[in-house]
């Protein structure tokens, strides 16, 4: 009898296990230009700016390019992606600190990697389930992103700096280590 019951989902999508996502061309940070794609969530731009400063000071990054994704819930627009690809050697994006923005940050990370741009995504740890689910939807199950403790929005600037410091090694590892 169950065969006669219609499926309301349109069918399950096949998800490829651990599909190749990361661009094999990982980065040498020294001399690189890094795009900082913030998403308008409270403290996101500050968080990325602080990371940028640390990368310049400690890893020889030549320049950072702060950019804003104005619709945090949706994937990065094609033209913005193309522009970042054109002008940057790698991108750091986030901070995914809500249900829709964490998912879209992961979608963006996967998209950058597939366009040959190493990308480090930062999500707060309250949203790992939704972030992982989005990675699966993008055929990138197991996609590795950096996490920081939730919440981020209410932190003061000193606390944001501390968080940036804490997540820095993970971000460096994601950008520079081949899978």
């Amino acid at each position: 009898m169950p065969e006669a019951i219609l499926d309301p989902t349109g069918g399950l999508r096949a998800v490829s296990e651990g599909a190749a996502v990361l661009t094999p061309n990982r980065l040498r940070l020294a001399g690189a230009t890094i795009g900082l794609l913030s998403n308008t969530k409270q403290n996101a731009a500050l968080f990325l700016d602080e990371l940028g400063k640390l990368l310049v000071e400690r890893h020889g990054v030549a320049a950072v390019t702060p950019t804003v994704k104005t619709v945090f819930a949706l994937p990065v627009p094609e033209d913005q992606l193309a522009q970042l690809k054109e002008t940057c050697d790698a991108v750091i994006t986030g901070v995914g600190d809500c249900g829709s923005c964490s998912a879209s940050a992961v979608a963006d990370g996967v998209a950058f990697e597939r366009h040959g741009v190493p990308a480090a995504v930062i999500c707060s740890d309250a949203f790992v389930v939704t972030a992982d689910a989005m990675a699966e939807l993008r055929d990138a199950k197991g996609y590795h992103y950096a996490t920081t403790a939730h919440p981020v929005a209410v932190l003061n600037p000193d606390e944001v700096r501390k968080r940036a410091e804490e997540v820095l090694p993970e971000v460096v590892s994601i950008l520079t280590t081949a899978s």
Binding site: M1, P2, A4, I5, L6, D7, P8, T9, G10, T40, Q42, V71, F72, A73, L74, P75, C98, G99, S100, C101, S102, A103, S104, A107, F127, V129, T130, A133, M134, L137, R138
Partner: protein, 345 residues
């Protein structure tokens, strides 16, 4: 096997597939879904909605399966299609609204002859429950989001607490007892056109004012409810209003048109900066997000929470047996759109 056992087994099968919103669904069969599809001229494979970020589409066929599962009758299906189009006209619904930590719910408003034809409730208990069309049309939208779009709780749906009645708020406007034009007419459709409008809500809150016949006192009570600081996250905090017929008629008798009501509320809904400071919300980023850090010191300055009456839906629904109304908290921006049932305006 007796028939009840077969039905129970089929219902349990749907639970096992993770297809339900927690309540039993009607297992959808080909003959039943075909009855739904016969109610529309649209092709089953036509895509009627897409959530870009999850890469999922909803077709007429999937909408029909989910509407059948929700307990709709086949003849409700044109209303479900109109409701879905109206919901998807909401920018937040097309964006990340269903994934939001806010956990918003659609408010679905039905106008026109279809209310009587299908038995929609517009009177007492307008927010439900108790009436099959109201309950199942709203539920159908919820099942579409869950099943066709794949946005499930604790995974891509990240509501922090959600909202009682998240997938159950479908009310018909009480046009017969409203002193003003129906919402659908305000949105530009003809008077005898059946239509559906929708917006996403954060929540709704009652205004019980059986205390005065002074229209400005009643409006002040409504404005105070609209102006609580907990609802103020951004520069603006949009609201809508579902007036009980008693309040609506009292306001109309005092000479207020619907536009007058909106204008009065736009003028008066807001808080002093000092109130916002005490709630940690007096600062504003360039993006219009509120925060605690505010260098300006004028605590007496009054900040209005709505800039335009065009974003303030006003509907009349409920019974004329007490002076009660409902403030509805609009999640994003009301589209101001009414979708004709059956696609013919």
């Amino acid at each position: 096997m007796t028939q009840p056992e077969a039905a129970q087994e089929a219902i349990e099968y749907c639970y096992e597939q993770d297809w339900t919103d927690g309540l039993p669904v009607v297992p959808a069969s080909r003959p039943l879904v075909d009855k739904f599809l016969a109610q529309t001229e649209r092709a089953p494979e036509e895509v009627i909605g897409r959530i870009e970020q999850v890469g999922r589409d909803c077709t007429v066929e999937l909408a029909a399966i989910n509407a059948a599962m929700a307990g709709c009758k086949p003849e409700y299906f044109p209303v479900v299609l109109a409701a879905f189009e109206a919901v998807m006209a909401d920018r937040a619904a097309r964006g990340g609204g269903w994934q939001s930590t806010s956990g918003p719910a659609p408010l679905i408003v039905v106008n026109g002859p279809v209310r009587a034809e299908l038995g929609f409730n517009s009177a007492g208990g307008a927010f439900g429950p108790g009436f099959r069309p109201n309950a199942t049309v709203a539920r159908a939208i919820g099942l579409i989001v869950r099943n066709a779009f794949g946005i499930r709780p604790h995974v891509l749906e990240q509501a922090t607490q959600g909202l009682p009645g998240r997938w159950s708020i479908c009310l018909a406007e009480n046009e017969e007892e409203s002193p003003w034009e129906p919402l659908s007419v305000e949105c530009g459709l003809g008077e005898d056109v059946s239509a559906v409008s929708a917006t996403l809500l954060r929540t709704c809150e009652y205004v019980d004012n059986r205390h005065t016949q002074d229209p400005e006192q009643v409006l002040a009570d409504i404005a105070d409810t609209m102006a609580r600081t907990g609802a103020v996250i951004f520069r603006e905090a949009p609201s809508g209003l579902v007036l009980g017929p008693e309040h609506a008629q009292m306001l109309a008798k005092a000479g207020f048109s619907k536009a007058d009501v909106k204008a009065w509320l736009v003028e008066h809904v807001g808080r002093r900066r000092g109130d916002l400071r005490r709630a940690g919300k007096s600062g504003l980023t360039e993006n219009g997000v509120r925060h605690a850090d505010d260098p300006a010191a004028d605590d007496e300055a009054f900040e209005r929470f709505m800039s335009s009456p065009a974003q303030l839906p006003v509907v009349v629904a409920g019974a004329r047996n007490a002076a009660m109304s409902m403030v509805v908290r609009v999640f994003g921006l009301w589209s101001g759109k009414a979708v004709p049932v059956g696609g013919k305006a």
